[in-house]
């Protein structure tokens, strides 16, 4: 058995900078992997644990599935919004409950969605928006925006927006309200399809630990 397995058994994990990375590191530390050179403000992008068994690297969140699909990273943690917007050929092993938020349709309070009238939708998540409006047979036109999506209805570029809402304060300050939540978004633990098999012995304890942590927090 042993000779069939990769001799290079370091496990590579791709994480999005910020809260998700922080949380993932806590879980890894509980498993005995220590990252002495990690600190929140460090500009380093790659950290290896003391025992050289796990290496994490920090990337922009839309890039996490890319690294995992290509096998450069064995595991990754990424929001469901990104997986839905850019589907990747990976295993979605677990729903981690951190980073909970909602994908919503938002607009002015007097906005009415009429089925006989074409709607103009601005979003960073054009695919998610299209999938949703197609599923209710709502004719719509989509405008992709890279950020500050709230501006679109304010300036008359679109009738409504589809975006992630955490607290809703940005919407409020621009006079918009949530019209309808369409999806719950949480973080996902994803795995490369090959690594899950070839590095199963290293990966399995990590999956199990994440599962326990998620369960504990739900109770």
């Amino acid at each position: 058995m042993a000779e069939n397995i990769n001799s290079n058994q370091t496990l590579y994990i791709a994480l999005a900078k910020g809260r998700v990375a922080q949380k993932a590191l806590e879980v890894l530390e509980q498993l005995g992997f220590e990252f002495p050179d990690y600190s929140k403000d460090s500009r380093k992008l790659v950290f290896t644990d003391k025992s050289n068994r796990v290496s994490i690297f920090l990337v922009k969140s839309p890039d996490v599935p890319v690294y995992v699909e290509k096998g450069t990273a064995d595991l990754g943690i990424v929001g469901r919004d990104i997986l839905l917007e850019h589907p990747a050929d990976v295993y979605e092993l677990l729903n981690l409950d951190f980073g909970q938020c909602q994908m919503c349709i938002a607009g002015y309070p007097d906005l009415e969605i009429k089925f006989n009238k074409k709607l103009t939708v601005a979003s960073k998540y054009v695919n998610i928006a299209k999938n949703y409006f197609d599923s209710i047979d709502q004719p719509a036109e989509y405008i992709y925006l890279g950020g500050s999506v709230e501006l679109a209805p304010v300036l008359g570029l679109s009738d409504c927006i589809v975006d992630i809402v955490e607290t809703g304060s940005t919407l409020k300050e621009n006079g918009l309200i949530v019209k309808k939540p369409i999806l719950d978004i949480s973080s996902r633990l994803i795995a490369n399809k090959v690594s899950l098999k070839t590095k199963n012995e290293v990966i399995l304890p990590i999956i199990n630990r994440f599962e326990e942590v998620t369960k504990d927090e739900n109770n």
Binding site: M1, I5, L196, T198
Partner: protein, 404 residues
């Protein structure tokens, strides 16, 4: 000025790559021949309807053409379907055993971005007319042999069966959308979303829900997975699948392939015509499977001959890359002979070159219209001449000028 004339998604293979590909092709063809497979050539085009009819593949991923007579054709996205058609046309007795091997280019992922690979070279085998587990075993053994042939060590084979999950899903009274959705979730090992999906389904019994949640974790060492499957196989169909997998595994143990085999009950192959066991082979550090195959017993019936079949295909370009990265190509190429000659001695140069060629060497001649330095340097700009011996011809004498 250099303009960009590259066609995205299609590779140019040249110099050593071409020789290496030929080396791979020849050794594989030779191996398959020794196992009794007879090589066939497949047309580039296939009838579009064969692929589009029962969603064997996503239609948007096909390269489509319309023939003079209005027929829709597609660049073939796989070799199995055309070979099944060829076997059906030429061998009419369903009892007949037919063993074909092939090497061909396939075209895929038309709807993916330009940069993704659209054309690749495949080699493989198809075995018709034998439904016994020992046939599955032979196919997997040969798949393994075709990788070991090149000195590859770290091979990992995932063995599965399309029937186990399907037999369970048959019991669940789901509509097609729900069924496809659940199947996808199981395939992606997405336990969280499976839970959410099952919570909305009140007509599925708790017992079945528990089994479904265990399906994504049915992978790993065969002995362990078989034990787990024993407890989950609640229908006769599921038991049949389990027994089938066990007898294929026993075959593989008896031919010494035990250590390479891992089970995974929750995966599918790109093409949807598989009906029995399926398998994929992975290599170290390669993010996608290099070889895949399985049993497709009902495909041939589409062409009028009801005949069981099993086979696999191997991605040669991926193999080429892997062998290069791991220095697994033998280094036995003789240096090229380059003869630089003054114009008045052309006759002698030609006869010397002919002698070399007749002895199986590669020999080229260049006239010295400049100094030997200039002529040599111009040639060395091309990597083709990296491993060469340059000779100068003067007064009927050949002297070594430079060796690279």
């Amino acid at each position: 000025m250099l303009a960009n004339y590259t066609i995205d998604g299609f590779e140019n293979i040249k110099y050593q790559g071409f020789g290496q590909l030929k080396y791979i092709e020849e050794r594989l063809a030779n191996l398959f021949e020794k196992y009794g497979y007879c090589q066939v050539e497949i047309p580039t085009f296939e009838n579009y309807e064969f692929y589009s009819s029962d969603e064997a593949i996503n239609r948007n991923d096909l390269f489509k053409f319309i023939s003079n007579s209005g027929k829709v054709l597609a660049l073939k996205p796989d070799a199995t379907l055309p070979i099944t058609r060829i076997a059906a046309i030429n061998h009419h007795d369903p009892e007949e055993v037919v063993k074909f091997s092939y090497q061909t280019n396939i075209y895929k992922d038309f709807s993916s971005p330009d940069s993704s690979k659209k054309e690749t070279t495949q080699s493989g085998i198809e075995y018709f007319g034998n439904s016994d587990p020992s046939c599955d075993g032979e196919i997997i053994t040969l798949a393994l042999a075709s990788l070991e042939l090149f000195g590859i060590k770290n091979i990992h084979i995932d063995l599965g069966h399309v029937g186990f999950i399907n037999a369970l899903l048959d019991e669940l009274y789901l509509n097609k959308n729900e069924r496809d959705h659940l199947f996808n979730l199981i395939e992606n090992k997405n336990i969280g979303d499976i839970k959410e999906f099952l919570e909305t389904k009140e007509n599925i019994s708790e017992e079945y829900k528990k089994i479904i949640l265990k399906l994504p974790r049915l992978y790993g060492k065969p002995e362990d997975v078989f034990k787990e499957m024993e407890t989950l196989a609640v229908t006769p169909k599921m038991r049949t699948v389990l027994e089938r997998l066990q007898s294929v595994y026993n075959y593989l143990c008896s031919v010494g392939a035990k250590d390479y085999i891992h089970l995974d009950i929750g995966f599918t192959n790109r093409m949807s015509y598989y009906t029995g066991i399926i398998f994929k082979a992975y290599l170290d550090g390669v993010g996608e499977s290099i070889l895949s195959g399985g049993r497709y017993d009902s495909l041939s019936a589409k062409f009028g001959i009801d005949r069981p079949a099993c086979g696999f295909s191997l991605d040669l370009l991926l193999l080429l890359e892997y062998l290069n990265n791991h220095n697994l190509f033998p280094d036995n190429s003789d240096p090229k002979i380059i003869i630089l000659y003054p114009e008045e001695e052309r006759e002698k140069a030609f006869s010397l070159c002919s002698d070399y060629r007749n002895n199986g060497r590669s020999a080229e001649m260049f006239v010295l219209n400049h100094s030997p330095e200039i002529v040599t340097n111009r040639l060395l700009k091309n990597p083709h001449y990296k491993n060469s011996e340059f000779y100068l011809l003067k007064d009927n004498n050949l002297t070594l000028w430079q060796k690279t």
